[in-house]
Amino acid sequence: MEDNVILKAKELSVEIDGALILEKMNLDVYSGELLGIIGLSGSGKTTLLSSLIGVFEPLTGDVYFAHTTKDNRKILKSVNRLKEAFRQKIGFSSQLPSFYSNLTVVENLKFFASFYNLDKYTRDERIKILLDLFDLYLFKDKIADSLSGGMKRRLDIACAMINNPKILILDEPTGDLDPILKKQLWYLIKKINEKGTTVILASHLVSDLELLCDRIVILADGKVLKIGTPLELKSSVLQGEKIIVESIPGNYTSISKEIESNKGVLNIVTEGQRLVIYSKTGTNVLKDILPILEKLKERVIEISMSKPSLDEIFENIVGKG
């Protein structure tokens, strides 16, 4: 597995304006994987992504890139040392689309292609492929600023991919997009990844990443709290079920006090007009709840039991963190 590492953050600490944003972070990114990074706003996602491409000089530790030497050996070399060579091999799409809004789609692609010493044929071919891939061909001569939000996002990723990168890093790629565009974009990202490009993406839409990513990193306060496949995360963090109760008059404080004594109960939270009970053994807890509701003269509106989603796992982890 170690041989397959394309990017490695080792004991990485990053400080900005005297504040420690990332703290001794260790992270391996494997070649060809689609790695999702989730975390609260301000948890350090963007800093981590920026640090991975060498934007910030680390306070401690470093970020390493799997570099192939002239004699065809694969070694890990600091991205801050490689810098230009490393940047040739990455594509980055930040939260805000990063292109010249007063240039056309093609002009933007041509401009960013000029950074990579591509010959005209290769450049034009790549542009054509990207225009096709991102459904931008019809808009190639449109001024970038006149594109819709989804188009802009697609153009931005297209610009990030103009160098045919080994690693594509996407920071909140679906930030401003509507659900349909989001789906389209997730599909596109998956497609890119399937073509062999390593994709690292950060998002706060945990549920979307659950379906998309091979592995997920949960960040909080500049630290990696959990890392693994969605399944691993689910099983490692919350073993059991989630019971949702909605009743009238909804005296959830009293219900919580009554049910707390059950050993199977892991956590109880009130979410609006509902009571959510996390338990190791859902069936047992459910058995106990019904009499309590009856005792407290609560009229049941809804009661259900299910496995927790990645969203809940995330909340649970971050809440503890």
């Binding site: 900005i16 706003s41 301000g42 963007t46 230009e84 805000l96 990063s98 809004s101 960013f112 401003d176």
Partner: protein
């Protein structure tokens, strides 16, 4: 925005203060400083030296130069403000060759007239002194003449008095002479006497001739008689004698009856009477002559007296003459009598070191520098800012291309713009106005290129330092204005203290202006501008190195800025970083966190109610916006502390929405 950016706050607050401070230091005085005047004279006369002494003061320093050419060149170069050339062995004279020439550089529009007036004033002061001394000489002479006149006036009065006496005496003699009766009887018939005498003489002469004729006739008759007597035998002869005697008798009787004789006699008788009357008259005259003799005696005596008087007067007149001679000597001793020379003892002329037809020519170097400086600074800093604030900037930063290439792009684009603009201006100026530019266009373009390079690099540096276009523009303008204020364009450098001016002399604006001025106005060659050019090249080198090495620092800062901008924080689906706060929250940094906590509590109160109505939601949103505004100002550590509570508020608002 301003509160968040230290450099922005700094430039907004300190920029105007910096200008006021600089201008304050530079111009906080009332006089001039270090006005340097070059002087030259082939032979320095005392008068020339006295002018130099007069010109030398604390503010004015006069330096003697080797030649007139050096003196004038020094003004052209700007080493000296004026050049004063005294004619050889300068003296006060009407002579055209004796004059002072003041060479002034009219191209220094804001100081030329001041220098001219001041130098002129000082020279004029000295000239007035000379004029005064010349007038004093005149007045002293007048005074002495007056004394002389006063002294001689007595003699003249005496002369007048004595003259009056003499006039009396003359009158007396005159009346005496008047009294001498010199009349004679006009009735003496002199003409008649004369004609009578003539008549008598004529009568007598006539009578005498007749007598003579008779005597002759008589003689001839007598001879005839004598002949006849010898011929006595002839009775006829007797008869003839008898007849001759009868004829002689007739002749005699005729002569005795002659009227001429009577006339003559009458005339003589009348003459006699005339002579009597003349005799009477003569005796009368004789009497008068006697009287005249007496009068003559009197007159002689009077004349003696008058002679004495006249002799006395002569003495006096001699004295007066002496006095007049004295006055004449004094007047002739006055060397300068010409009124023009006295009123303007030294001819002074002002000669411009450069003769141009319009003021535009004088202004043109300044205009060029202004264009070069402001266009270069503003365009380059704006291009850098546009690049920095462009969405594409982050992609450029993480590209394999080094940031310095983007700066180089901004540099060459600006340089190209400036140079094209200058070329157009130069050609239009040369063709449209009476200002010859194109003859030296290569030099002008070379200087413009070096100067533009400096200002473009400076603009790039400023654009890199500041984080927004507004502050960058403000910073650029502040710097541009500061350079302009201490350039001598608005207020002369001569107003500045020497220490400040020493710095101002190295102002790139001033150096560029000097070079363009030398080239455009004086058609100077490279050797003349080499010193300024060296400084500019040094500046360019230093600034180029600074920009080159600083680009890494600015790149990292841009990265940080990018990171800060993109801290994701959503307000009802919109990125708060893109949203301008409705009003700024001016709270001390130490109290921001406390204030934020209060806001969070207020927002929560609105949202944790059992029935949240639209009014509550509206209030909560308001609090939320304030929260976001303050949150953005907090350090990351504080943000982390309160983030979950804000997240909760956000979720609650979203839910109710």
């Amino acid at each position: 925005m301003l509160l968040r950016s230290k450099t922005s706050s700094l430039i907004v607050i300190l920029g105007p203060l910096l200008i006021i401070f600089l201008v304050g230091i530079a111009f906080d005085n009332t006089g001039y400083h270090n006005i340097k005047i070059a002087a030259y004279s082939p032979i320095y006369s005392d008068l020339a030296d006295s002018y130099i002494t007069r010109l030398s003061s604390q503010s004015y320093r006069v330096f003697k130069t080797e030649s007139e050419l050096v003196c004038v060149d020094a003004v052209k170069k700007g080493t000296y403000h004026a050049c004063i050339v005294f004619s050889s062995d300068l003296v006060v004279s009407k002579d055209l060759e004796s004059e002072i020439k003041i060479y002034i550089d009219n191209s220094k529009l804001n100081i030329a007239w001041i220098i001219k007036d001041t130098v002129f004033e000082k020279i004029d002061d000295k000239s007035k002194e000379i004029s005064k001394s010349l007038s004093d000489v005149l007045l002293t002479t007048f005074d002495e003449i007056k004394k002389e006149v006063d002294l001689r006036k007595k003699s003249v009065v005496d002369l007048t008095t004595k003259n009056d006496v003499l006039i009396g005496q003359v009158d007396s003699v005159s009346s005496k002479i008047e009294n001498i009766k010199m009349s004679y009887n006009d009735s003496v018939p002199i003409s008649q006497i004369s004609s009578g005498v003539s008549s008598a003489l004529s009568g007598f002469n006539s009578y005498k001739s007749k007598v003579d004729d008779l005597l002759n006739d008589l003689e001839s008759e007598l001879e005839k008689i004598g002949g006849y007597l010898s011929d006595l035998n002839c009775s006829s002869s007797l008869t003839t004698i008898q007849s001759s005697i009868v004829s002689a008798k007739e002749i005699i009787s005729q002569s005795s009856n002659d009227s001429d004789f009577d006339k003559a006699k009458g005339s003589v008788e009348r003459l006699d009477s005339y002579i009597d009357s003349i005799s009477n008259e003569i005796s009368s005259i004789k009497t008068q002559i006697v009287a005249l003799e007496n009068s003559k005696k009197d007159a002689k005596s009077e004349s003696q007296s008058m002679k004495q008087g006249l002799l006395d007067q002569l003495g006096k007149i001699v004295e007066v003459q002496k006095g007049l001679n004295n006055i004449e000597t004094r007047i002739s001793n006055i060397q300068i009598k010409d009124s023009d020379v006295i009123s303007d003892p030294i001819r002074t002329s002002v000669v411009p070191v450069v003769v141009e037809s319009t003021h535009l020519t004088y202004l043109f170097p300044t205009l060029l520098v202004l264009i070069i400086m402001f266009v270069s600074l503003l365009v380059s800093s704006t291009l850098v800012q546009m690049e920095k604030t462009s969405n594409a900037h982050f992609r450029n930063l993480i590209s394999p291309t080094k940031t310095i290439f983007f700066n180089a792009g901004a540099f060459f684009v600006t340089l190209l713009i400036v140079m094209i603009q200058l070329l157009i201006i130069l050609v239009i100026t040369d063709l449209s106005f009476d200002t010859a530019i194109l003859h030296n266009i290569l030099f002008i373009l070379l200087v413009s290129l070096v100067s533009s390079t400096f200002f473009v690099l400076l603009g790039i540096l400023l654009g890199s330092i500041f984080n927004s276009e507004e502050t960058s523009l403000l910073g650029t303008l502040v710097l541009g204005l500061a350079l302009l204020m201490v350039s001598g364009t608005i207020l002369p450098l001569e107003y500045m203290p020497i220490s400040v001016r020493a710095v101002a002399d190295f102002n790139p604006f001033v150096l560029t202006y000097q070079m363009l001025r030398d080239i455009i106005l004086f058609r100077a060659g490279f050797e003349v501008i080499s010193s300024e050019m060296s400084y500019m090249l040094l500046y360019v080198l230093v600034l180029g190195i600074t920009v080159f090495f600083m680009h890494n620092v600015f790149e990292k800062r841009s990265m940080k800025l990018h990171q800060r901008i993109h801290i994701p924080f959503k307000v009802l689906g919109k990125n708060i970083s893109d949203k301008k706060p409705k009003r700024s929250v001016f709270i001390k940094q130490s109290k921001q966190y406390t204030y934020l906590k209060e806001l969070v509590l207020d927002a929560k109160k609105m949202l944790v109610k059992d029935n949240v109505n639209s009014e509550d939601l509206k209030k909560a949103k308001k609090f939320y916006l304030k929260i976001i505004e303050v949150y953005d100002m907090l350090p990351v550590t504080d943000r982390k502390k309160i983030f979950s509570e804000i997240e909760f508020i956000h979720k609650e608002i979203s839910k109710h929405k």
